[in-house]
């Protein structure tokens, strides 16, 4: 608890962090690692900063932040990359930071029509990602966690509760109550 408090102090200098990209092949967020002046860092420095930062986030936020396999050989100082990270490196010549926290929502897509997907589910996911990454970039991990809960609930209400509500309203209307 003490550690978390320390990590979320605003007076603390913000660590180098995160800008999102979309990798069409893997549907993961691909990111630059930026230094304090918003310049992309050198690979070796970036990897160290990345691992440090991700260790912090994963500790306090295990369900949301995930690390791709990017191995740094600390003895030789050279980096050895897994095939996955290499593939992603080819995509933008940059490194991967976070997997989108919306990943579970993508599994809902086959259960709904294209219209529901286009008009309800995907806009919900877009909002989720925007608010989540805003909070993460400001280093407000608790806010990001709260956004996750809020948006999962919102999506559940939008795609599950609302159709039932509409059916009930329709039945209520047909039955002639309220006239």
């Amino acid at each position: 608890m003490k550690d978390l408090k320390y990590k979320t102090q605003k007076s603390e200098k913000a660590p180098p962090f995160v800008y999102g990209w979309y990798n069409k092949n893997s549907s993961h967020v691909v990111s630059y690692i930026l230094d304090e002046t918003n310049t992309p860092m050198k690979t070796s420095e970036a990897l160290k900063a990345y691992h440090k930062r991700m260790a912090e986030i994963s500790y306090s936020f295990p369900d949301v932040a995930h690390i791709f396999t990017i191995d740094v050989n600390s003895d030789s100082g050279k980096e050895t990359e897994s095939s996955e990270s290499k593939k992603i490196k080819d995509f933008h010549n940059k490194k991967v930071i976070l997997r989108a926290p919306t990943r579970p929502l993508w599994f809902l897509i086959p259960f709904f029509s294209k219209k529901t997907m286009d008009k309800i589910l995907l806009p919900c996911i877009a909002d989720f990602e925007e608010e989540y990454f805003e909070a993460v970039q400001e280093n407000r991990l608790w806010l990001a966690r709260w956004k996750c809960i809020q948006h999962y609930t919102k999506t559940f209400v939008a795609v599950i509760i609302n159709p039932f509500k509409s059916v009930l309203e329709f039945i209520f209307k047909l039955s002639g109550f309220g006239k």
Partner: protein, 108 residues
Amino acid sequence: MTPFKKNTNEDQIPLISNIEAYVLSALSDGAEHYGLQMIKDSEGRLKRGTIYVTLSRMEAKGYIKSRKEKEIPPHGTVPRRQYRIDAPGEAALEKWIAFHATPIKVLA
């Protein structure tokens, strides 16, 4: 007895709900807005859980139009959907404003 207003031929424009009116008033500047932007601008009147269902229904009724953005936003993985008001929506909003501006006549 509660007076129950039915749509007649004279009255082609249906009276919209308050939530629909809030959405239309958010779009009434003629510019395109996306859902989260409308929620933030509405000062708590529009809720995250209901806005997209409402927008979807309003689009089906012809009050608004939407399009998917071509570019993916920098923080996201999916393009946002932009909404703008259409002519029937403007008429419905005007009617809603007029309805709420008119004092209610109490029947003797």
